[in-house]
């Protein structure tokens, strides 16, 4: 049982050493001396372990002390970030993504409707300028009884009023988009506050 504990301690120690060795070149690590100290400690531990293989308790104690030192001294070189905080942040990010996707799914009919509104208005405008207006112009110009001035005045008025009306429709759609976005953001915020 005690032998098992010793093996586990040694494995942990060696694993940590390999991790530290990989970190030595990173800018976050500033403990080259500490690594040397650890290596020495490890070497001593190993030697001690070999010499006093029969004294398992002593070696286990030594290894535990080494591990304790390594934990307190070596990781002191990192900026301390609360583990709890890191987990929470990760959870929040995942929750944010989940709620965002869920809201997007819920708002799919709205998004589709906005797109349809925009397409319909664009098509109506195109149809007015390409089909209806030439038809009206043709009909009015063909009427020889009408004065040229009256014809031009009315066509100008028609065009201007239609354009103003299209502009109002555009601002109505824009209002709809803004309100939907506000609602979407508010709901997302509400969901995130629950996490």
């Amino acid at each position: 049982m005690k032998h098992d504990c010793l093996s586990r301690d040694l494995i942990i120690l060696l694993k940590r050493l390999s991790v530290l060795a990989s970190l030595i070149d990173t800018p976050y690590f500033n403990g080259k001396e500490k690594l040397a100290e650890l290596s020495e400690l490890s070497r001593l531990s190993e030697l001690k372990g070999l010499e006093e293989l029969r004294c398992l308790e002593g070696l286990a104690k030594c290894t535990k002390e080494g591990e304790k030192r390594m934990g307190s001294d070596l990781f002191g070189g990192f900026t301390p970030v609360g583990k709890e905080y890191q987990d929470k942040k990760g959870e929040k990010l995942i929750a944010y993504e989940e709620h965002y996707m869920r809201l997007l799914r819920n708002y799919q009919p709205e998004i589709k409707e906005i797109q349809e509104m925009m397409v319909a208005l664009r098509q109506e405008r195109i149809s007015f300028y390409q089909v209806t207006l030439p038809q009206i112009e043709q009909a009015i110009r063909n009427d020889n009884v009408l004065s040229l001035e009256a014809k031009e005045t009315w066509i100008r008025e028609l065009r201007s009023n239609m354009e103003q009306s299209f502009a109002i429709s555009e601002s109505l759609i824009s209002h709809y988009v803004t309100k939907n976005l506000e609602e979407f953001e508010r709901k997302l915020k509400e969901e995130m506050n629950k996490v």
Partner: protein
């Protein structure tokens, strides 16, 4: 402040009003609505202009009438919700009204202050929410008055 479903309804209804009125304007021109026809065929430029103004003011007022018509079809809305919808449309309606100030034949109206009362009524309606019902009725009366005033003026000018 409109609740979520109300603003959706307001926007959809307003878009419907705008689209329908645009279509009506084109249809009236192509099918020679009697006022447009009179304007196009009158020999006096002054009377022509008056007919055009008459038609456009009617067309403009019909936006408001049509919106009221849509609202009347939706009895499921409470008095307060209807009030919010009227105010929502009034905001856009006054935008159309303000655009008229710089627009062709409407820039110099033959009936002075024709749209002024409407503008003031709408402004008051938006500023004093409590008086919305009163102002809404006032607006309807103004719309009827326009019609009478135009008819009278056209008769006067034609008889000259």
């Amino acid at each position: 402040m409109l609740i979520n479903y109300d603003y959706r309804f307001c926007v959809r209804a307003s878009l419907q009003v705008m689209k329908d009125r645009r279509s009506q304007l084109c249809k009236d021109t192509l099918q020679y609505h009697h006022i447009v026809y009179n304007g196009l065929h009158d020999s006096k430029p002054e009377v022509q202009k008056l007919y055009f103004q008459y038609y456009l003011v009617q067309w403009f007022d019909s936006h408001w009438d049509y919106m009221q018509e849509i609202l009347n079809q939706h009895k499921e809305y409470t008095r307060d919700q209807r009030k919010q919808m009227i105010l929502f449309f009034a905001e856009y309606f006054s935008e159309i009204l303000n655009n008229y100030d710089n627009s062709g034949v409407m820039a110099k109206l033959m009936i002075p202050n024709l749209l002024q009362v409407q503008k003031e009524t709408l402004k008051e309606m938006l500023a004093l929410n409590e008086k919305w019902m009163e102002n809404s009725s006032k607006l309807k009366v103004e719309i009827k008055k326009h019609d009478e005033e135009f008819k009278r003026l056209i008769d006067e000018l034609d008889s000259d």
